[in-house]
């Protein structure tokens, strides 16, 4: 039986590529929009689903977790942190911060390698 060699995991997660993909998705969904309570649900769902779809199209053997937080821009503070227990050589993360006049959007992508 032939041995299957792991292809792309040797170089780990490409954070820059993911960053670009997610930024495009967010621009597409939220670009030019103002904060609107009615649409917010739909927007976060679109951002997350589109990002996930584009990441999958890269064709790499990864499991993905995409989280999105959209906050109305105000005087009020907001903090986020994450802590991960994984294999640092193959797994990775990427965070995209986006803002406009009325809202802030933070998208986190976590990618965990599948060993084939």
């Amino acid at each position: 039986m032939e041995e299957y060699h792991r292809p792309c995991d040797e170089v780990g997660f490409n954070a820059e590529e993911a960053h670009n993909i997610v930024k495009e998705c967010v621009d597409g969904v939220l670009g030019g929009e103002d904060y609107n309570q009615n649409n917010i649900n739909q927007w976060t769902a679109s951002i997350v689903e589109q990002s996930l779809a584009h990441l999958v199209k890269l064709g790499k053997a990864y499991k993905y977790i995409v989280t999105c937080a959209v906050v109305q821009r105000s005087a009020y503070g907001f903090h986020t942190a994450s802590s991960c227990f994984w294999d640092t050589t193959s797994d990775g993360t990427c965070t995209v911060r986006w803002e406009n006049r009325t809202m802030n959007c933070i998208v986190n992508v976590f990618a965990i390698a599948i060993v084939l």
Binding site: I65, H79, A81, C84, G92
Partner: protein, 177 residues
Amino acid sequence: MSALAKDKLFPALKKRGSVCSPGNHEFRQKEGHWRSKHSVSTVSHSDEPSQRDETSRLTVRVENTYQLGPTKHFPVATVNHILKDVLTAYLQEAEYDPEFCRQMTKTISEVIKAQVKELMIPRYKLIVTVYIGQRDCQSILIGSRCLWNPKSDTVSSYVFRNSTLFALANVYAVYFE
């Protein structure tokens, strides 16, 4: 051990702005037996995407386990209690303050990760995220989607609220296939 091999084994020591703490165990299966291998964990508080040294990548080759799924599933209820306990303990009496909350988010995520690791559930990778925000008349929506195997992977979540702040903690558990 040569300097190059040492660099390969401890790549994290070359990173700037992060703290290394040896002592965490990384499990590697070989010939059906668990062996614990000393590895280094890093705590990085930078909010830029982490820069990784391309030359110091360690290629891990594991043998076939012929295991199709986890022998022990992730205990969601137990972890929910852990989240509830940690958030309540740290934030019950707290008032929103930018510096305090900035430190708290990092501390709480590390504490939760440590407590869930103590449960010693084999072959699960963990991602803990914590959101803390000031509470008063603003609107916020936090959502997530995951592409994984729903039979083995899961998420656990808890929201804590008091008069001045709210806190959301999520733990994503991904089975290492």
